[in-house]
C-alpha cells in the first residue's frame, strides 16, 4: 500500500480508477466542435438562476450529482470530496459541498485545480485513507470576467492572444472497481514565474510551468516522449501551446503532434475566441468527455495530463506584479484488460 516518491513524482502501487465522470458546458462551448461529447448543455449562462454565481454553483453541483449517479454511489459513500473553482474564497465549490453529505477539502491551483484534485485523491486512495473520492472543478465566463477583468459589455479591445474563460464544470469519481482508465503517477509542480505581466496572455505565463513539469515527469520516471501517446495540457491556448512547443524543442523534444490543449481545442480555434479557452472548466470537461472515451476506444493507451494554472488576482495585476504559474501532471492509462 506504500507510495513511492521519486523526485517530484508519486508512483501509485494500486492505481485508483476513474470510475465515472460528468461534464456540463455553457452556451458558447455548446457551439464548439466537441459539443456532443458533453453530458449537458446550458442555453443560458445563469442556468435559470438569478445570478451568474448561482448559475455556476448549480452547474457544478449538477456535474457532481451526475457523476455520482453514473458511478452508482451516493454522497454518503464518498470518503472525501476535493473541489475548487476560480472565484474568491472557492465560493462555488464551498456552496456545492454545502448540499452534499460528504467530507470536503477546498483546493486551489487556478486552472490546474482539477489535476490537483485527481492527483491528491489518487494519493490518498493509494495511501489507504480513502476508497471513494470525488474531484470536481468549475469555471464560468461571466463570473470570472467580472472578478478578474472589466464588465462584459465594456467596449475595450482585446489582443488576438487573449483567452476566454470556459463555462464548464467537470466531476470525477475515483474508486477501485469499474471505469476504463486509472491514474498511475502524479507529478507535483513548483510555482514558476518568468516575468510575464500581461493578464491577457496567460498561456505564455503558464507555458514554462508546463514545460518544467513535463521534463520533470520524464526525468523522474526515466521516460521520454515515445512513452506517451498524448500530452494533454489544460488551458495554454493556441499561443501558450506554441510557446510550450518552442521550450520543448530547445530540449530536443519534438512534441508538436503529440501535444493537445483542452482550452485551445474546446472552441475549435475560431478567431472570435482569440487564443482559445482558459479556466479550469476547459480541462475538467474536456479530459473526461473527449479524451477518456478515446483512451477507452484504444486510440491512446497512456497519456500525460498536465493541468496548468496562472496564479494571478485582480489586485496583483493592478499592482503590476508578474504572473506566477503552476502545473501538475498525472499519468492516465487504459486499465489492462478493462
Amino acid at each position: 500500500m506504500a507510495v513511492k516518491c521519486k523526485g517530484q513524482t508519486f508512483i501509485f502501487e494500486n492505481p485508483p480508477h476513474i470510475v465515472a465522470h460528468a461534464a456540463i458546458v455553457g452556451p458558447e462551448e455548446s457551439k464548439g466542435p466537441y459539443s456532443d461529447y458533453f453530458d449537458l448543455h446550458l442555453d443560458d449562462a445563469k442556468y435559470g438562476e438569478d445570478s451568474w454565481e448561482k448559475g455556476e454553483e448549480r452547474m457544478a453541483a449538477n456535474a457532481v450529482n451526475l457523476s455520482l449517479d453514473k458511478a452508482s454511489v451516493t454522497a454518503a459513500d464518498v470518503d472525501l470530496m476535493l473541489g475548487g473553482d476560480l472565484l474568491n474564497q472557492l465560493i462555488t465549490a464551498d456552496f456545492v459541498a454545502r448540499d452534499l453529505d460528504a467530507p470536503f477539502l477546498g483546493i486551489y491551483s487556478a486552472c490546474a485545480t482539477l489535476v490537483e484534485g485527481l492527483s491528491l485523491g489518487a494519493a490518498l486512495m493509494d495511501g489507504g485513507f480513502a476508497d471513494c473520492v470525488v474531484a470536481f472543478a468549475s469555471s464560468h465566463y461571466q463570473t470570472a470576467e467580472r472578478q478578474y477583468r472589466t464588465p462584459l459589455e465594456y467596449g475595450v479591445q482585446y489582443p488576438p492572444y487573449k483567452q476566454f474563460t470556459v463555462t464548464a464544470a467537470g466531476s470525477y469519481v475515483l474508486g477501485w472497481v469499474g471505469g476504463d482508465v486509472w491514474i498511475t503517477h502524479a507529478t507535483f509542480g513548483k510555482v514558476i514565474d518568468l516575468g510575464v505581466t500581461d493578464p491577457n496572455d496567460l498561456g505564455s505565463a503558464m507555458a514554462p510551468a508546463a514545460a518544467e513539469i513535463i521534463l520533470q515527469n520524464f526525468k523522474d520516471l526515466n521516460r521520454g516522449l515515445a512513452d506517451y501517446d498524448l500530452i494533454l495540457t489544460g488551458d495554454l491556448g493556441i499561443t501558450g501551446k506554441k510557446v510550450l512547443t518552442s521550450l520543448l524543442e530547445e530540449k530536443n523534444i519534438m512534441a508538436d503532434d503529440k501535444l493537445m490543449d483542452c482550452g485551445g481545442e474546446i472552441f475549435g480555434g475560431q478567431k472570435q475566441y482569440g487564443s482559445g479557452g482558459s479556466g479550469v472548466g476547459a480541462s475538467a470537461s474536456f479530459f473526461g468527455s473527449v479524451i477518456i472515451p478515446r483512451i477507452k476506444a484504444g486510440e491512446f493507451s497512456r497519456i500525460l495530463f498536465v493541468g496548468t494554472g496562472a496564479l494571478l488576482s485582480a489586485l496583483t495585476v493592478k499592482q503590476k506584479e508578474s504572473i506566477p504559474a503552476i502545473a501538475h501532471a498525472i499519468v492516465v492509462e487504459k486499465i489492462p484488460g478493462g
Binding site: E153, G155, Y161, I192, G195
Partner: protein, 162 residues
C-alpha cells in the same frame, strides 16, 4: 540571522533553465502580432463616423426643431449617449469596441458604454450596493481627473486670465 533573497528568490528552473529575458524573446516570437497601423485606421474610421453622426443630429435639431446651435449640440450629445447605452444593452457596443479600439472608446458613446456596462453587470447585486456603488467603476477616474484638471485650469484663469 539574515533572510536570504527576501522577496526576490525565484525558483531555479532546473529543466528548462531560461532567464526572464530569454523567455521574453520566445513569447514575442510566438505571440500573434497586433497590427497597429490597421487599428489606427479602424479607430479613425469608426471614431470619425460616430462624430459625423453626432454632427448630423446637431444639424437635424437645428433644422427641424429650431434649436440654437448650442442647444442642438447638447441635444445631439444626449442622443449619442442614448444610442451608446442602447447598443451596450443590446450586446453590440463591445463588438464595435473589439473592432474599433479607441475609435469607439473616446467619443461620448464610449462614456455611455462605460456607465451602462457596469450597471448591467452589477444589477444582480441590487440597486444600492450593486448598480449604485459600481456605476462609476470605469468612468470614475475620468470624472475625478476631469474635475481636477478643470479646477486647475479655472485657478490659472482666475490668477492670470484677468
Amino acid at each position: 540571522m539574515t533572510i536570504q533573497n527576501e522577496l526576490k528568490g525565484r525558483i531555479l528552473l532546473k529543466n528548462i533553465n531560461k532567464t526572464t529575458d530569454e523567455f521574453k524573446k520566445i513569447v514575442q516570437k510566438e505571440q500573434p502580432s497586433v497590427n497597429k497601423t490597421a487599428n489606427f485606421f479602424k479607430a479613425f474610421l469608426v471614431g470619425g463616423t460616430i462624430c459625423l453622426l453626432g454632427q448630423v443630429f446637431q444639424e437635424l435639431f437645428m433644422t427641424f426643431f429650431e434649436y440654437s446651435q448650442q442647444d442642438a449640440g447638447t441635444m445631439a450629445s444626449i442622443t449619442m449617449i442614448f444610442l451608446g447605452g442602447l447598443l451596450t444593452g443590446l450586446d453590440v457596443y463591445d463588438e464595435i469596441g473589439q473592432f474599433a479600439g479607441a475609435g469607439s472608446l473616446v467619443p461620448v458613446t464610449g462614456f455611455a458604454n462605460s456607465m451602462v456596462a457596469p450597471a448591467l453587470e452589477y444589477k444582480q447585486e441590487g440597486f444600492i450596493i450593486g448598480i449604485g456603488a459600481n456605476l462609476f467603476s470605469i468612468a470614475g477616474p475620468v470624472l475625478a481627473y476631469g474635475m481636477v484638471s478643470a479646477f486647475l485650469i479655472g485657478l490659472l484663469q482666475t490668477l492670470f486670465g484677468g
